[in-house]
């Protein structure tokens, strides 16, 4: 009681200073904005004058040029690109798609690939995965996209293992040495929010245009989660297992090799799953730097508005994503099972033997029947034109057309453009103050300080208006996503069966490479702002719905039962018990939605935007590394601001509620 009574006034005092600070911040912001509207504000307070903007891009360019040429880094990277990396890529390209390089063996017949996929699927998860694995590759071959798909896969098969190995190594180092972790942590958070265009340009400059640059960008893109999962897994190894290892007299290397890494198997394999999925997403996106493959074809088809073919390629990419995801996830949960004593070796190793048999079998069959080796130009079953016709016909139907046209008009004229103009009309310092007060209100002091620093940097980067337009797209899309995703999640969480279905749908949708989300947006709304918002919207709704369902489903049963026994109605139970307890989890979804939105808004540059993404895409054509970095960093800093505030809030809330 004594502590309580001394605590209370203190808390009240803290709350009052908190609201005072908030009032002060918002009040100043409002005052500045008002002054601007009354044209009382001096111009230099509205937007920073050009003379005050430091030449960051030029300085960076000079620095890059120094590292690249004077220090000779370019020779090192070019050596790697032209030496070992190109060798690996050529080898995999030869085997999978038949590129004329050493070892001159490929391409492997599509039937053999499909057969091996079926065996691997069976070994990992039974008949269903076998059917999925075989089905994916059979579809790809029959629809006439084998070569493209294999171009994509050949980069993936090189990039994913590289990302895995580097991520594992760095993860172990970060776990072993605190200073490595301290060094890596901020880098990882920036890397995870950096728009992918920023990975692409340096990759191109340092590692040559084409598959090598694509592979490098892909590897860098996929490393962060592998590092995080490795460190997490190693930290979670049970102390008794560690002690058992020590008492068994393990040396340090033996500890790592025989105790830590195997005991962290689950987390490491989850990392593998994420590496594979991120690699796939990125390989598709490397189309922007001219990498051939599924992504490039999709880009070309969408560019010329060939919806049928885009649709088919979309299905292929989705099938590949789902197959890779399911198989790697099945590997995570697969536990070793013993064989009885005296089991002959060919039963113990029956799966590898079966895979080998299937592979060799189809290899031989393909010599006899060429159709089993590869499907020619005229033999495939693509229905591109017909689907195109169908989709366009469907969209041209009066009812559908009226709805989409009205939505487009309404959103554009009544919502989006006014909102954007309002945001653009706010003076820079007022805008920064608003973001700071948002961070302060949500996350507290630390996130607020970082918000101030980050947005000031953005202001001084010289790309303020474009940053605001980026932010506008993100905010509008996320707000719309909130209005759709959360009610959807609440509805779904009412029944066990629907929760499961929705979770499965969301998890599946999350494995799709982000590029895919452009297809329906372009189909429905054509090439304009609404399509941009729409593509971000669907992309961001997925995590929101997912975490709403998860948050509501994981509210402890005793609490909902207690609410029931207190005689609360469904609505009361939802509002006063379930939602408050689910909020921290839902915040994770909200955070992810914002991060996804920042990611997607850049990709949407393809549709045509006026934001940072557009500028970034333009830099890809040239060698303006400095500008590219400044733009990318702006996106990253804005994303990090929100990330920090929301994470801080969720953490505090969780602690206050005593959840984990």
């Amino acid at each position: 009681m004594a502590t309580l009574s001394t605590d209370l006034p203190q808390k009240a005092q803290g709350a009052s200073t908190r609201s005072q600070v908030l009032c002060l911040l918002l009040g100043t912001a409002l005052l500045l904005t008002l002054a601007q509207y009354l044209s009382l504000l001096p111009a230099w307070l509205h937007r920073l004058p050009k003379e005050m903007i430091p030449p960051t891009a030029q300085v960076l360019d000079a620095a890059f040029a120094f590292v690249q040429n004077d220090l000779g880094l370019i020779h090192v990277t070019r050596f790697i690109a032209e030496g070992p990396l190109e060798f690996l890529l050529d080898t995999s390209a030869n085997l999978l798609e038949g590129k004329r390089r050493w070892p001159y063996l490929g391409p492997v017949p599509w039937t053999a690939v499909a057969g091996v996929a079926a065996v691997v699927g069976y070994a990992l998860g039974g008949w269903r995965l076998a059917a999925l694995g075989a089905g994916t590759f059979i579809w790809t071959a029959l629809i006439g996209q084998w070569k493209m798909a294999m171009q994509t896969m050949s980069v993936l098969t090189v990039a994913a293992p590289l990302a895995f190995a580097i991520g594992l190594g760095l993860g172990i180092a970060a776990w072993k040495y605190a200073w490595v972790e301290r060094l890596l942590k901020p880098m990882l958070s920036v890397l995870q929010t950096l728009p992918f265009f920023t990975y692409l340009l340096p990759a191109v400059i340092f590692f040559k245009v084409g598959p090598t640059a694509g592979a490098v960008a892909t590897v860098i893109f996929a490393i962060p989660p592998m590092i995080l999962m490795t460190t997490l897994g190693l930290k979670k190894v049970s102390p008794e297992v560690i002690e058992a290892g020590k008492m068994s007299g393990c040396s340090r290397w033996q500890m790592l090799r025989h105790v830590y890494v195997p005991a962290a198997r689950t987390e490491i394999l989850v990392g593998v799953n994420q590496v594979i999925m991120l690699c796939l997403a990125m390989v598709v996106l490397t189309a922007f730097i001219g990498m051939p493959g599924l992504g490039a074809k999709l880009l070309a088809m969408m560019g010329s508005f060939k919806l049928g073919r885009s649709f088919e390629i979309g299905i292929t990419i989705v099938l590949l994503a789902v197959t890779l995801d399911r198989m790697s996830k099945a590997w995570v949960v697969k536990q070793p099972a013993h064989f009885d004593k005296g089991t002959p070796w060919w039963i113990r190793h029956r799966m590898p033997l079966l895979a080998l048999g299937v592979f060799v079998g189809f290899l031989l069959l393909a010599q006899l029947f060429p159709i089993l080796g590869s499907i020619g130009r005229k033999q495939h079953f693509s229905q591109g034109k017909e689907i195109d016709f169908l989709i366009k016909g469907f969209l041209a139907m009066d009812g559908i057309r009226a709805v989409t046209e009205w939505l487009r008009w309404f959103l554009n004229v009544k919502v989006l453009i006014p909102f954007r103009d309002t945001l653009l009309s706010i003076p820079t310092p007022a805008f920064i103050l608003m973001v700071v007060s948002f961070s302060y209100w949500l996350g507290g002091r630390r996130p607020a300080v970082f918000a101030a620093i980050f947005f000031t940097i953005v202001a001084f980067s010289g790309w303020w208006d474009r940053s605001i337009i980026t932010l506008y797209a993100v905010i509008s899309a996320v707000v719309l996503a909130l209005m759709i995703g959360i009610p959807l999640g609440i509805l779904a969480s009412r029944s066990e069966a629907w929760s499961r279905r929705v979770l499965l749908a969301c998890d599946t949708a999350q494995t799709f490479p982000s590029f895919i989300y452009l297809i329906p947006a372009i189909m429905l709304f054509g090439v304009n702002d609404v399509a941009v918002i729409f593509s971000i919207l669907i992309f961001a709704t997925v995590p929101l719905t997912r975490y709403t369902v998860e948050g509501l489903r994981t509210v402890p049963a005793e609490l909902t039962e207690a609410a029931d026994m207190s005689g609360s109605t469904r609505r009361q139970k939802l509002l006063s018990v379930q939602l408050p307890l689910a909020l921290p989890t839902m915040a994770v979804g909200f955070n992810q939605a914002i991060m996804f939105a920042f990611f997607m808004v850049i990709i949407a540059a393809f549709i045509g935007t006026q934001d940072l993404g557009q500028e970034l895409q333009r830099t890809l054509a040239g060698t303006e590394l400095g500008k590219n970095f400044v733009l990318g960093l702006n996106v990253s800093l804005m994303a990090l601001t929100f990330d920090m505030a929301i994470t801080a809030w969720a953490e505090r809330r969780k602690q206050a509620l005593g959840l984990d």
């Binding site: 049970s238 008794e240 297992v241 002690e243 058992a244 290892g245 020590k246 008492m247 068994s248 007299g249 393990c250 040396s251 340090r252 033996q254 025989h258 105790v259 195997p262 005991a263 198997r265 536990q335 070793p336 099972a337 013993h338 064989f339 009885d340 004593k341």
Partner: protein, 342 residues
């Protein structure tokens, strides 16, 4: 049982947890209590403990959770580095050992069994048991033979190819025991080995353990929070509280003469007649003339109940395992213990 030189000898051992324990300990005024130390921001995991374990002896360390018993044992094997004092294992100061020597010590002299087994989930029973042998580089054939031998010893033959998750808790602990015995250790640490098991299995495992110990005669440090288990197994019991040893003595003495109130509280509920042995209750001969058949000194008073009631002699001779008379038991004293003080 105790022999000339102790196997483990700990002198004034301290283990503090906190920001800079070493500095704190050197500057600490002597005589600070557990709570004082905690107020200073440190936790005394082990607080000024001096204890010896003789060759072939089974020392049971008893205490509630958080009393420091696990920490103390981890100091013996240097899984924890101690903050102050010295620990010698077979005459060697283990804090002076470098990593190589320590690994050699563990590879050849020490075995440990853990409460939640600490099995490697990706290895079969056989590979788990052979793990310490593999670590010290024994060849495949040899370690397989030895592993099979210990697997048989703990009664798991036929399960060599199973993975830990395919076994019951009791079976998993048998694997843990087999693994700790694989290298034929001289010193055997058991950290609450049976606590995670259900009561029936626990009893069975205790019997099994006693059988093994009779066969192997290891030096054992056994941790438990279960007083009954301690009484059942121990040659000597050390009762710990707040990092310090409250009393270290034979079960008979602990029950008969608790050194502190805390120990007395533990023994209150115990049926003393089931614990105290005839030899523990007997007084020295000191020239007393005794006659008639001697009673077995290793039997508990409870075991002797019928005899004590029927035999009307006031003084009963007590003999050791070899039959030599070692002391004299006053019948009245024994009856009081058996029936409670009138």
């Amino acid at each position: 049982m105790p022999s000339t030189s102790p196997v483990i000898s700990a002198k004034n051992v301290w283990k503090l947890f906190g920001a800079s324990p070493q500095r704190y300990l050197t500057n600490m005024t002597p005589g600070r209590s557990y709570d004082d130390i905690r107020a200073d921001g440190y936790i005394a995991g082990v607080k000024d403990v001096s204890i010896e374990v003789g060759r072939g002896e089974m020392l049971v360390i008893m205490g509630l959770s958080g009393s420091g018993k696990s920490t103390l044992v981890r100091c013996f094997s240097r899984l924890h580095d101690i903050t102050g004092g010295t620990i010698e294992v077979e005459g060697q100061d283990i804090m002076a050992m470098d990593e190589r020597e320590l690994i050699e010590l563990r590879r050849n002299k020490m075995g440990m069994v853990f409460q939640s087994f600490g099995l490697l989930p990706h290895r079969t029973v056989l590979d788990n048991v052979a793990f310490p042998l593999e670590m010290r580089g024994q060849d495949r054939h040899e370690r397989r033979a030895r592993a099979l031998e210990v697997i048989q010893l703990v009664g798991l033959e036929g399960r060599e190819e199973y993975f830990p998750r395919e076994l019951s808790g009791g079976q998993q602990q048998r694997v843990g025991i087999a693994r700790s015995l694989a290298i034929e250790p001289d010193i055997w640490f058991l950290d609450e080995p049976f606590s995670a098991l259900d009561p029936l299995i626990r009893r069975e495992m205790q019997d099994e353990f006693l059988r093994l110990q009779e066969m192997l005669g290891k030096t054992i440090v056994f941790i438990t929070h279960d007083f009954d288990e301690a009484l059942r197994l121990a040659d000597r019991i050390a009762i710990m509280r707040n990092g310090a040893v409250e009393q270290c003595d034979t079960p008979d003495q602990i029950v008969m003469n608790p050194a502190t109130e805390y120990v007395a509280k533990f023994t209150e509920e115990i049926d003393k007649a089931r614990v105290v042995h005839a030899r523990g209750l007997a007084s020295p001969l000191n020239g007393t003339a005794v006659e008639g058949t001697a009673i077995d000194g290793g039997a508990t008073i409870h075991n002797l109940a019928r005899l004590l009631i029927n035999d009307t002699r006031a003084h009963l001779p007590v003999a050791d395992a070899k039959g030599a008379v070692t002391g004299v038991l006053q019948r009245q004293k024994a009856l009081d213990l058996l029936l409670g003080d009138a």
